[in-house]
Symmetry: C2
Subunit: 413 residues, 2 copies
């Protein structure tokens, strides 16, 4: 008997009627003979509404309490789904993250899963129930406090549970048909990918493809969980995420991702002496700010500029540690630029194909897009451009590598 | 240092602004040097909205899941209040019923508290926090499932916590000034009582005075918790509930309670043989239906009618066990009357004053109110009348015993 973990996002359970449609889909999996575990997010905009209420009360709500507040939405959807399943004659039991044994560290707002003890989940499965688990939440190992896993955390809940239960597949249901070569809202002939490797998906998620949370892909890769990203509004196959070697397509490039949620921070006139950069970034690390691209200019007369990108929301924390430090090390100042976007080209194939970066830069300059920062990995090239030019940039790169070309898609199958 | 438990109902925390006012009041208690524990209900109509969503999905939602759903509201208010207190510089930690150690039996929807293990609450208090606890909920001893204590359950959470913590007082904040001699919406010159005994409060709550849940009063009496029922919209003293001997007033009667939430069920033509009644009511007991008044007619030619009142919502369960049973014992039929109301006269003084019942019945007949059922305790006389006549009945009885008369109030102080 197969074990299937399904995750439904906030849009899929956006209202009572959609909740019923999800129940139909889950019932179908259960009647098909699968041991089915369902991870649900909060309904539609519930979480945003809760955040808003907190904001009306305090500008800096205590993180422990904010986490308790934000976990309420998943409790509502998990119990409603269980009720909808019972109405369809399918026995179901719902569990909070804590009850499901999602054990995390104590970093409220972006806790990491450190262990999973799914005893109650397995027990309920063996009794023949569909098991519904609240996404996005866990309980801290040390303090026993309720924690949340950060935006998109339900993906991680699902993949982590799939790993712990040895599930055959983890289905991530969303409001799009799968992973595309680019955001279809920008690139109208973007193509749905049938299969991407964990590594490619990691890069695409990290670079702004909103479809899967980065940590969920890490979890999938580390525990070899087959992930199927698909639409909750159709029964067509979506995009499979798995190991590189299972990949059929041999396309050089998988897709273009973009991210407009970050800001660029520059520390000017940093004395170019050993250990300075490490002091800056270890200080930032302690604030749990996720630094992304880092660029250090060539130094001139003993001083240099250090730039990095970070989530726009993390700027206050970053500044609070950087400003005193900048004084200490006698830097000339800190500058923040919100008007940036990141465009990334991702493809495992580029490892063995030189000139990919050059071709990308060429396409951008032809499109009149200025490049502000560059960073690369073995399977990714990312550039920072002005936010006003992000669409031109994505279109230009997508076009330059013929990602829409159906021929390529055919051949590669 | 005094330990104070405060309970705020749904109206008191009805919206963000009211939540802030409650935070001011709690902060005042904390700054006054009290170790303060706050029990909160869900905001305004939240719980009703959740019930409504469930109803749109299923006519008979599984009780386990319904309880999980209904506890979401308290999580929202408890964390918002903690956030509001932090904003006022008051350290606060919120706990769910389960985290606060509210251990119950497994009767979902109307669970009973079987134990309280407030270790985490005491720990947080000793750290100098205001502790906020979600009302109305607990965790089942055997199944570890989330349970709810039934309507008004937050009162019981508060009094039970006060007992477990050895609190000096349990303040129940509501939207009225205290306990009145009758419902002020019906009797405009109803008088606020300064003090009522546990026994009187028990009878009044049981007979429909909505201000305190019956179980909370039982808890208060069994553990000698001083309860202060007062308004969250003013700082004037409310009504104290405590032991009979501390009572200063020597009024014969405390007040008139009424209840329009019940129905009357009659089993007709029951063979008048030993054990029949016991079979009926033990069957009902197993469905956890709360039977209230019971009247058995004088038997004629070997048969009798047995009538009882019960919460209107419990009629389906009651019928489901009574109908087969009525056939078994060859009763003639079952009849249900929704159009009834219960009017009760309560007062510890009536123990020693004969003729109270007679005076009450006299007042009712003068007012042209017909009496359908009668039941009495040492400190209460209850009658069932037609629902259309409940206001006349309450006014007539309140008037007959001069409960509004300020003179009486003065003399008795």
């Amino acid at each position: 008997m197969a074990i299937v973990v399904q995750k439904y996002g906030g849009t899929s359970v956006g209202d009572v009627d959609r909740m019923k449609r999800v129940a139909d889909r889950v019932a179908r999996s259960h009647r098909g003979g699968n041991q089915t575990v369902v991870v649900v997010s909060a309904m539609g905009k519930t979480t945003d509404e809760l955040v808003d209420m907190a904001a009306r009360i305090s500008e800096q709500p205590p993180e422990r309490e904010l986490d308790i507040l934000l976990t309420a939405g998943e409790r509502i959807s998990m119990s409603l789904l269980a009720i909808a399943l019972a109405e369809r004659g399918v026995p179901a039991k719902s569990f909070t993250g804590s009850q499901a044994g999602i054990i995390t560290d104590a970093v409220h707002g972006k806790a990491r899963i450190v262990d999973i003890t799914p005893g109650r989940v397995q027990g309920a499965l063996e009794e023949g129930n569909v098991v519904i688990v609240a996404g996005f939440q866990g309980v801290s190992q040390d303090t026993k406090d309720i924690t949340t896993l950060g935006r998109g955390g339900s993906d991680t809940t699902a993949v982590a549970l799939a790993a712990a239960l040895g599930a055959d597949v983890c289905e991530i249901y969303t409001d799009v048909d799968g992973v595309f070569t680019a955001d279809p809202r920008i690139v109208h002939d973007a193509r749905k990918l049938d299969y991407v490797s964990y590594e490619e998906m990691l890069e695409m998620s990290a670079q702004g493809a909103g479809v899967l949370q980065v940590r969920s892909v890490e979890f999938g890769r580390n525990h070899d969980v087959r992930i199927h990203v698909r639409s909750s509004f159709s029964y067509t196959a979506g995009t499979w995420v798995g190991p590189e070697e299972d990949k059929v397509e041999d396309a050089i490039i998988s897709g273009v991702a973009h991210d407009t949620s970050e800001a660029k921070m520059t520390v000017h006139g940093v004395p170019d002496t050993p250990g300075v950069a490490s002091r800056l970034f270890s200080a930032l690390a302690q604030t749990n700010v996720n630094i992304d691209m880092i660029v250090q200019n060539v130094s001139s007369d003993g001083r240099t500029d250090i730039s990095f990108t970070l989530p726009r929301g993390d700027q206050p924390q970053a500044l609070s540690v950087l400003e005193p430090l900048a004084n200490e090390i006698h830097a000339e100042g800190i500058n923040v630029d919100d008007n940036i976007a990141k465009v990334s080209l991702v493809g495992a194939g580029m490892k063995t194909h030189p000139g990919v970066a050059a071709k990308m830069f060429g396409a951008l300059s032809t499109a009149g897009v200025n490049i502000e920062m560059i960073s690369t990995s073995t399977i990714r090239v990312s550039v920072v451009v002005s936010k006003d030019q992000v669409e031109q940039a994505v279109l230009a790169v997508h076009d330059a590598f013929d990602l829409a070309d159906e021929q390529v898609a055919q051949e590669s199958n």
